[in-house]
């Protein structure tokens, strides 16, 4: 029996549970012995002109090796053009948390004392905190750009004629609030220049090779002069893609001082200076017939990009996935991205797709409520049907495979949907102040959508051991175990003889890394392709050794031996014997899986909540989920990815939001203030399996890293509103905190009293 598809505990774990991982701050290599420590002085004010920076007192503080500002760096801002982001603030600050100066000291405990002595003269400017203020344009972040709008995409003008013939048209603005990725390990880096003039940068990153390119370009050296090592990484969720500006400044300072320098931010810094996610204000308009058929859908996206536009593909990705799982005949989308005096927005688990799903799933519920049909029924009427695949969406996506109605039916059957609706009705008739709410979300998302491929290398040594290098960059997903399982299956080598390595640009020079749930479908396919090349090499060698034609040889993947088809069992060759005869002393294949077509995982979630209408308190009681990402390599880690996604997605609906006051001061800058979800606020998750393969990669797999996040947020959000629907509440923005629920009930009560 193949090991693929069986439950395998992770190879990664033993060290993590006995000695702890080796994260950036744990590194003790020779090159970092005696390393100096660094801290960034950050802007405490949202928008200001810098009148001057006096570093003289800081330079005199105990242990200080250097204090650096933009004037010292002399590095060209990035990117070129009208919207540059300086490495250290240059004349202006545009968000609280923006790096203004770097202080380097001998000892870590000297950092805070010295940083406090850096005297920055800020001349405050008007903060621009909301997208409405940004669009109004009374204060511009980049006056030379002439507008706070930094990207416009999609329909030039909306055409109301798309709603012609609709019996019902509903419009709703849906806020997809700003949240903090908040990996448990904050950002950190260590930089050391060798005597050979090469920089080694240890970086908490999802993409060492991308970071190498960024560091080389920003520091003005060739890529061959930079080695980036991603050690164990304590979570990323999209917010550790590549290298952040701090890494460049650290690399520069290490060179300037002729000394290795290390940096780990504090959590307060992390919550203001690591990119945030989501931050879209979306207006949906949906129209259709009273039988539930949707005829037209419009999505108008306003992306808050934060102070510096770091990832403007987010709103366009939201447009691409606008219609979700539905065959809407007439669709129009538009997006605008604006800058505000807040932390820059970047990728966060789902990155553009959760926003699309949240918008369309709220729209479907609003439409269903308006025509008085069950939200499940309205979805069934409009699902793209299995026979329509591959499906060209009106926004330009090419969906591979899907069974959308089957996914929803499985979830509703498992949950006991009819009984739950009956229970909801019973409570209402009894006047129970604790309402039951049911929330449905059906979703499709895009994984590996970047179009690039991934690298994979497999070596088999004369001792029979297998070493593989992946261009993917796992940081908690358990991909190493999954790749080892693929190799064990293909080669017939036991897991304990297989080692998977990654994350060092000297070992893996060419790679893309981990984001967009791309790793198994691309990194896994690359490893499969490399394994097959090694098998092809071995077939030739084994044929020579056994004096047979290559075509007559077969690999018995159950035992991991080569044999002549139909010949006695005595004439077999082990991998060790074949590898021992290979030119160069080992079998080796180094490949690029370049056929990187995106895939479209899908699923359906049902959330069950109780809402106490007297206190506004929401309790998430159940969440039942189908997340179909094709064939499953390791059910243990596959389920783990879904659990994590469900937790983060539910957290956005229930609890989490990054907030600023009217002057742009962050009010959620510590974990005491930010409502990071805990174990006590989540239920056990009920997972239902479903497997619909894709034909777009060698393994038939789709990505699972983000899928459950995408479904769970609107499911929980819809459930809360469903609970309040009989009391006149039609919509309420996330997070559905007690005060918001209470306010929504108050508002609805006023309406019904009139």
């Amino acid at each position: 029996m193949s090991i693929v598809g069986t439950r395998v505990v992770r190879q990664e774990d033993r060290n993590l549970i006995t000695a702890g991982g080796t994260y950036v701050d744990d590194l003790r290599p020779e090159a970092l012995s005696g390393a100096a420590h660094a801290v960034f002085v950050r802007s405490p004010i949202a928008h200001a002109r810098i009148g001057g920076i006096d570093v003289s007192a800081a330079k005199e503080a105990p242990g200080v090796l250097g204090v650096f500002t933009a004037a010292d760096l002399g590095l060209a801002p990035h990117p070129a053009g009208p919207l540059p982001e300086p490495w250290l603030a240059d004349g202006l600050v545009r968000y609280v948390g923006e790096p203004v100066a770097l202080v380097v000291t001998e000892e870590r405990y000297q950092l805070a004392d010295a940083a406090e002595l850096v005297d920055v003269d800020y001349e405050p400017l008007q903060a621009v905190v909301t997208v409405d203020a940004a669009l109004a344009g009374e204060t511009l972040l980049f006056p030379e750009h002439g507008s706070n709008v930094v990207q416009v995409h999609g329909a030039a003008e909306f055409d109301d004629a798309i709603f012609d013939g609709c019996e019902v048209v509903v419009t709703q603005t849906v806020l997809n609030q700003r949240v903090a990725p908040a990996p448990l390990e904050v950002r950190g880096a260590a930089c050391a220049w060798g005597e050979d003039g090469r920089l080694t940068a240890w970086l908490s990153t999802q993409n060492a090779q991308m970071a190498r390119g960024q560091l080389a370009a920003s520091l003005g050296v060739g890529e061959e002069s930079v080695r980036v090592i991603a050690p164990d990484v304590g979570g990323g969720f999209g917010a550790k893609i590549g290298a952040d500006p701090e890494a460049t400044v650290l690399g520069w300072a290490a060179k300037q001082l002729g000394r290795a320098v290390r940096w780990v931010e504090s959590r307060s810094e992390n919550l203001t200076a690591m990119t945030h996610g989501r931050a879209q204000q979306n207006t949906v308009t949906i129209g259709g017939k009273r039988d539930g058929t949707v005829l037209a859908y419009r999505l108008d996206v306003i992306q808050d990009a934060g102070a510096y536009p770091r990832l403007l593909m987010l709103p366009t990705l939201t447009e691409l996935m606008a219609v979700g799982v539905y065959r809407f005949p007439r669709v129009e989308t538009r997006s605008r991205a604006v800058v505000t005096t807040t932390t820059p927005i970047g990728a966060y688990r789902g990155a553009g797709r959760p926003e699309a799903t949240a918008a369309v799933e709220r729209a479907m519920d609003r439409f269903a409520a308006e025509i008085g049909l069950d939200p499940a029924e309205v979805r069934r009427v409009n699902f793209i049907r299995p026979e329509q695949f591959p499906y060209q969406s009106p926004t330009g996506a090419s969906y591979d495979t899907g069974e959308y109605a089957a996914a929803l039916d499985k979830v509703l059957d498992t949950a006991g949907y009819a009984e739950l609706r009956a229970e909801q009705q019973r409570r209402r008739e009894a006047g129970d102040p604790v309402e039951l709410g049911l929330g449905i979300a059906a979703y499709v998302e895009i994984t590996g959508g970047d179009g690039a491929g991934e690298s994979g290398r497999v070596d088999i040594h004369p001792d029979g051991s297998v070493v593989a290098w992946t261009g993917s960059s796992p940081h908690g997903q358990g991909l190493g175990t999954s790749l080892a399982m693929l190799l064990a299956d293909r080669l017939g080598v036991p897991l304990d003889k297989i080692t998977v390595r990654h994350g060092d640009t000297d070992e893996v020079p060419n790679a893309v890394g981990t984001f967009g749930s791309r790793s198994l479908q691309l990194g896994g396919s690359a490893i499969r392709q490399a394994a097959d090349e090694v098998i092809a090499q071995a077939r030739e060698l084994a044929a020579e050794l056994l004096e047979a034609a290559p075509d007559d040889l077969e690999l018995d993947a159950g035992r991991g031996v080569w044999q002549v088809r139909g010949a006695p069992a005595s004439t077999v060759l082990s991998w060790a014997e074949v590898a021992g005869r290979a030119a160069g002393g080992k079998l080796s294949a180094d490949v690029w899986f370049g056929d990187g077509k995106p895939t479209f995982p899908f699923g359906a979630h049902l959330a069950v909540v109780e809402v106490d209408t007297e206190t506004g308190k929401v309790e998430l009681r159940r969440i039942v989920a189908v997340d179909d990402a094709g064939p499953i390599v390791n059910p243990l880690t596959f389920r783990g990815q879904r659990h994590g996604g469900l937790g983060q997605g539910a957290a956005q609906a229930l609890l989490e939001v990054v907030t600023y006051d009217e002057d742009g001061n962050p009010t959620t800058a510590t974990l005491a203030d930010y409502s990071f979800v805990t174990a006590a606020e989540l239920p056990d998750f009920e997972l239902v399996d479903m497997v619909t393969p894709t034909d777009r990669n060698l393994l038939g797999v789709k990505g699972i890293g983000e899928a459950a996040t995408i479904g769970s947020t609107p499911a929980v959000h819809n459930a809360v509103i469903d609970a309040l629907s009989a009391r006149g509440v039609k919509h309420l923005d996330m997070p559905t905190t007690p005060i918001r629920v209470w306010a929504a009930l108050e508002e609805a009560g006023k309406g019904s009293a009139q």
Binding site: Y109, G640, G644, A679
Partner: protein, 156 residues
């Protein structure tokens, strides 16, 4: 000041600044880097260790306060022969960890929880671990791991 702490059965003595936090003493002086720092407000629990058998967040304890006391970190849990502690074994078996950063603190908090409540319900575990944050697992498998470590059957 001079601080002497018994860490995982070994006495570690050093002259450290008065304001040295226990977590920094463990990481820098004792050289035990499993205990991590995830926040600056005693919110995340990544730095949880046992101080005389009781779980504490070592970012909010001065090394000086632990002077003369015994501290256990995750490095001190497994047996001399490398045998895993039941909580360690259960975290692995139930996939109660992903990136591993919260894990040493989560395991130590779980050891403490089980010492107080040897047969907890899943809700007991959720309430007992409220002070330990994890961003990867959605907590489901962490709860299962603690149930497993308590000798009860994991049914989901």
């Amino acid at each position: 000041m001079k601080v002497s702490i018994e860490v995982n059965g070994r006495t570690v003595t050093d002259e450290v600044p008065d304001r040295t936090l226990l977590v920094h003493f463990l990481r820098e002086t004792a050289g035990l880097t499993a205990t991590n720092i995830g926040c600056d407000t005693t919110s995340c629990g990544a730095c949880t260790v046992l101080l005389d058998g009781e779980s504490v967040k070592s970012c909010t304890v001065l090394a000086a306060q632990a002077d003369g006391h015994a501290v256990t970190t995750v490095e001190g849990l497994s047996g001399a022969d490398g045998d895993l502690h039941p909580v360690q074994r259960a975290f692995r078996e139930q996939h109660g960890l992903q990136c591993g950063f919260c894990t040493p603190g989560m395991i130590m908090a779980s050891v403490s929880l089980l010492a107080d409540n040897p047969r907890p319900t899943r809700d007991d575990v959720r309430a007992g671990l409220e002070g330990n944050l994890c961003r990867c697992t959605g907590y489901h498998n962490i709860v299962s791991a603690v149930i497993d470590a308590s000798g009860q059957e994991v049914d989901r």
